[in-house]
Symmetry: C2
Amino acid sequence: NIPQATVRRLSLYCRYLEKKEVEGGNFISSRELGDGIGTNAAQVRKDLCFFDRFGTPGRGYPVSFLRRRLLAILGIKDQTWRVAVIGAGKLGCALVGYGGFNRQGFEFVALLDNNPEKFGRVYGALRVEDSARLDEIVTRRRVDIAMLTVPAPAAQGVLDNLTAVGVRAVLNFAPANLDIPAQVAVRNVDLAVELEGLSFFLVGLRSR
Amino acid sequence: NIPQATVRRLSLYCRYLEKKEVEGGNFISSRELGDGIGTNAAQVRKDLCFFDRFGTPGRGYPVSFLRRRLLAILGIKDQTWRVAVIGAGKLGCALVGYGGFNRQGFEFVALLDNNPEKFGRVYGALRVEDSARLDEIVTRRRVDIAMLTVPAPAAQGVLDNLTAVGVRAVLNFAPANLDIPAQVAVRNVDLAVELEGLSFFLVGLRSR
Ligand SMILES: NC(=O)c1ccc[n+]([C@@H]2O[C@H](COP(=O)([O-])OP(=O)(O)OC[C@H]3O[C@@H](n4cnc5c(N)ncnc54)[C@H](O)[C@@H]3O)[C@@H](O)[C@H]2O)c1
Ligand SMILES: NC(=O)c1ccc[n+]([C@@H]2O[C@H](COP(=O)([O-])OP(=O)(O)OC[C@H]3O[C@@H](n4cnc5c(N)ncnc54)[C@H](O)[C@@H]3O)[C@@H](O)[C@H]2O)c1
């Protein structure tokens, strides 16, 4: 079983390797890769050992080869995942408009809401549709992943509907403790964690 | 110099310890704390060693005491940070409406935009104001942190304005490679990383 934190670091290694590739780098040491994402050489070696022996002692890791292998491990090399957003509010509509998802192989195929006033509105390439049609839309458009951008009280009900129609992976933004069925992965986003990295920095600045 | 990844884990430890406190736990082992956030016992000990010797061998860490110390280290124990959001679009307005920030000690004090059509609109407790008044607003309201939710081409210009008026910590959502002045911390958010954790899970599900 691979720790979630390791998987997250694979994403960060990919981004750093992409930068390195653009700069024309051929090999990279575990020390540089570790420093590049805010961890250390030992953690890099430990993470990569879960998957394969990628480097050559003394030379380091081949940049392009490693990046392609990590993209494949993350499931985003030459593969597209179909994403439905449930909750066409401010956050949901901002997410469908963000180009960063497409670049990594995530394509939005549905934007659903339960408020009839929103039906038919267009955001990016999507038109808001009725979440009552979830079952038919998930099946017909082969949805792989759902994003939950509904108010907290609605989140559990929506999650139950999604797992009932076969969706196995959910990115949850609603601040609710969800009951997660077996065989389903739910990742909770809490952007306050990002701000705490900044308050930590400011405390350090003040005490100097 | 503390790695960013360690600081991020402190936030996750705090959230897990909070849950444990609610359940009535008095002590916790580094193994349980590690498992709880998707890492391991050795990483927990290594992270906490940067700050102090918190545990007692054989008994583990005192839950409430450790949580309070970590909140203080993160700068969010009995302390409020004043946040300005630049870019009153879909994302910016969704962020000011999210209660999770307040709970952790981050208070929104300004919501700025450069589009006159938006001035005066109310979101949560804030009224959209003209970003041309950034200098006066940052000073008068003692802004500590700024969130950048403007389109990518505008991000560098806004960052330069912010650092010129003394803001030292920025949470950036715009997909732009920013030139960051010394003594300023910029954290970039890329929600695609969260989706990649889910594609990794789905690849695993398919290969079983
Ligand atoms: N995790 C974070 O860091 C973070 C940041 C910002 C917002 N949020 C959260 O994201 C969620 C959305 O925020 P927002 O600002 O977009 O809110 P919003 O009110 O603008 O949008 C919510 C939308 O969900 C729809 N909805 C409600 N119940 C539904 C249901 N059962 N099925 C389908 N659609 C339903 C509403 O009609 C509305 O359009 C909230 O839970 C908020 O707390 C989280
Ligand atoms: N990092 C992520 O995961 C993620 C997710 C979603 C969106 N985004 C990004 O967040 C940003 C905002 O997205 P959105 O959907 O809210 O866009 P939006 O177009 O709805 O909002 C942008 C707002 O910025 C304002 N603005 C433009 N230039 C400005 C300037 N110089 N000073 C002040 N205000 C200015 C506009 O008037 C508008 O109100 C975009 O860069 C988008 O790519 C990132």
